[in-house]
């Protein structure tokens, strides 16, 4: 069973008289353990696609199965539970809570699934450790560099053991060196923990880290291909 399976999903926004097809019959299947990059110019529908597979939005038509669950039929609170359980988000803007320590930021998803206090703390610390943030647990986002903030966000995405990480331009606000660090961490998580990673980017360099590239244009998938240079690229940068 595929982790992500969309069957002919469409998303239509009504703008007065005209209707905009942000997604127009997209069918995509992503297996557990894949590393997929979604590419396309702005307005191509890649963000809408990410929102739908991230359960932040529901398609107008078509079916979306996440881990076998028909997400299209769920209400707001059920979608929140699915996001909590199955999806870790990594954003371009990091989206950490300001004036809140790294540790508490990482604990955040566990506040919403009744994890007991000690367990929460243990898992948050472990997660930060995986991302190499030992010693920074009590730093606030404003005291951390961009790369460190993004790693806190990744620790937060990992902490509930979600099978899927959705990364929306995760390196968009980082310099090249830090971008490489972040991408290597994502690759490592993908390879070592078999976490499925879906990444939105418009930079071919970043997409090159993935094993599969899906390109969007005008709400449709225009190409979906294996990335042949996968292993080679990692070997080079490593």
């Amino acid at each position: 069973m595929a982790l992500i399976e969309t069957k002919d999903i469409s998303k239509i926004y009504e703008l007065g008289e005209s209707a905009v097809h942000a997604l127009d019959g997209v069918s995509v299947k992503i297996e557990q353990g894949e590393f997929v990059a979604i590419m396309g110019p702005s307005g191509s529908g890649k963000s809408t696609f990410m929102n739908v597979i991230g359960c932040l939005d529901t398609p107008t038509s078509g079916r979306y199965l996440l881990d076998g669950i028909d997400v299209g039929r769920l209400n707001r609170d059920d979608l929140a539970s699915i996001r909590n359980e199955k999806i870790g988000f990594v954003f371009q803007m990091f989206n950490l809570l300001p004036r809140t320590s790294a540790l508490e930021n990482v604990e955040l998803p566990m506040l919403y699934n009744n994890t007991p206090y000690s367990e929460r703390k243990r898992r948050a610390l472990a997660s930060l450790k995986i991302l190499g943030l030992e010693g920074r647990e009590h730093h606030h986002p404003s005291q951390l560099s961009g790369g460190q903030q993004q790693r806190v966000a990744m620790a937060r995405a990992l902490v509930n053991n979600a099978p899927l990480i959705l990364a929306d331009e995760p390196t968009g606000n980082l310099d090249t060196k830090t971008s490489i660090e972040i991408m290597e961490l994502l690759v490592r998580l993908n390879q070592e923990s078999h976490i499925t990673i879906v990444l939105v980017t418009h930079e071919p360099d970043i997409a090159a880290y993935s094993g599969r590239i899906i390109r969007f244009l005008d709400g449709r998938v225009i190409s979906d291909e294996r990335n042949e240079h996968d292993e080679e690229k990692i070997a080079l940068s490593g």
Binding site: S81, R99, L108, Y112
Partner: protein, 409 residues
């Protein structure tokens, strides 16, 4: 499903971030709660005082005054002249079933002399039943008796103020005082009673047998004349019946024909006092209600700040939703935040209210009583205000679309 300690922590942190803003918002609640407590304290203090005064003049009291106070028609009989007699009093006790006790009173002001001291005070010629009617005990000695009344003995009971002014540290029992130059022996001392509702010193008084007053001190314009009659009804429910029975009896005794006006007035003292007490209670409620308006305004302040807070923290709300916060997680977060504001304000307001009422007591000299009930009331009310005015902002926050909220700058 909701994590209260964490939510509380989040709320406190959010309030700490904008210290000034939180403090000002709380000030609204502090003033509101403080005002409610202080106003209720003033009102409760006033009605408590009135209750004490009611108790001090005696309970279930009816007073009969001579003359007619109604203005319509021609005045009959003696008009403003005394019309009551001791025999009227005796008849009331015998014939009115709702009456427990009766005391005729012939009073006036007289100069009292003891040794080289003198003092001017109210002298009351009355019967022993006056002590029961006015719920008055003796501090020392004995009361005068029916026998003293029958034989017009020259004995007297002294009020505390008279004792202090004439005797100082000497024991007055057995001493002889002169009232209008007539010697009286002191047989008893009245207990201290304090001020009357009208502010008179009730202890500045001397009781003597009514017959002695009639024959030796004040004289009478007709046999058996007394100035007033005090009546104690059997209990509060009997007051109206007693009033009616007394009126009928006296009309009969004074031979007042139908359609003629009474030559006396029956006044229900207890009822008058109860009306006063009632109006103080209404005043208390009114003060409390006005003060609660300020609490309401404080609540609107909370809503205002919470709405600003929700807008400012749109992105935070988006993040929380993205990682799994459900509708009620978000709502409770903001409700708890509003509740924290209002309850901290409420506690500070209780302190402000208690100190406020102490200050009112000290400055204005009013007696204030802070009741436990008013504290709970004000605190509970501030909690309700927090929930009520926190709900709309919280509701608004929970309806945000996570995608838009995440992109909010």
């Amino acid at each position: 499903m909701i994590n209260i300690p964490s939510t509380l922590k989040i709320s406190l942190r959010a309030l700490r971030v904008n210290k000034m803003r939180s403090a000002l918002t709380m000030l609204g609640i502090i003033i509101g709660v403080g005002a409610v407590i202080a106003m209720l304290a003033v009102g409760t203090g006033a009605s408590e005082r009135i209750s004490q005064q009611i108790a001090s003049i005696g309970s279930n009291l009816i007073i009969i005054l001579p003359g007619s106070t109604t203005s319509g028609g021609v005045r009959m009989g003696f008009g403003a002249q005394p019309t009551l007699t001791k025999e009227d009093a005796d008849a009331i006790l015998k014939e009115c079933p709702a009456v427990q006790d009766v005391a005729p009173i012939l009073n006036g002001v007289a100069q009292i002399v003891y040794s080289n001291q003198n003092w001017s005070t109210g002298v009351f010629g009355t019967t022993p039943s006056i002590l029961n009617i006015r719920d008055w005990q003796l501090a020392a000695g004995r009361p005068f008796t029916e026998q003293d009344v029958r034989s017009a003995t020259k004995v007297c009971l002294l009020g505390q103020t008279v004792v202090e002014n004439l005797f100082g540290s000497i024991d007055p029992l057995g001493q002889v005082v002169r009232i209008k130059k007539v010697p009286f022996s002191v047989v008893g001392i009245l207990e201290r009673k304090g001020q009357s509702p009208q502010g008179q010193d009730q202890d500045d008084t001397i009781y003597i047998p009514v017959t002695t007053a009639q024959k030796k001190i004040f004289g009478t314009t007709f046999p058996g004349m007394v100035r007033t009659i005090m009546v104690k009804a059997k209990n509060t429910e009997d007051l109206d019946a007693a009033e009616k029975q007394i009126t009928e009896l006296l009309r009969q005794r004074h031979r007042i024909g139908p359609k003629k006006e009474n030559d006396f007035t029956v006044r229900n003292l207890t009822q008058i006092m109860q009306v006063a007490e009632q109006s103080t209670k209404v005043m208390t409620l009114l003060l409390g209600a006005i003060a609660s308006v300020s609490l309401l305004v404080g609540g609107i302040g909370i809503m205002n700040i919470m709405l600003v807070s929700v807008t400012e923290r749109t992105r935070e709300i988006g993040i929380r939703m993205a990682v799994g916060a459900k509708t009620w997680d978000i709502r409770l977060q903001f409700i708890i935040e509003a509740l924290t504001l209002s309850l901290i304000g409420g506690i500070a307001g209780i302190v402000a209210g208690i100190s406020g009422s102490k200050i009112i007591s000290a400055v204005a000299g009013w007696s204030t009583i802070v009741s436990i009930l008013s504290i709970f009331l004000a605190f509970g009310f501030s909690g309700l205000v927090g929930i009520f005015f926190g709900f709309y902002p919280a509701y608004k926050a929970s309806l945000l679309n996570p995608i838009d909220a995440l992109r909010y700058e």
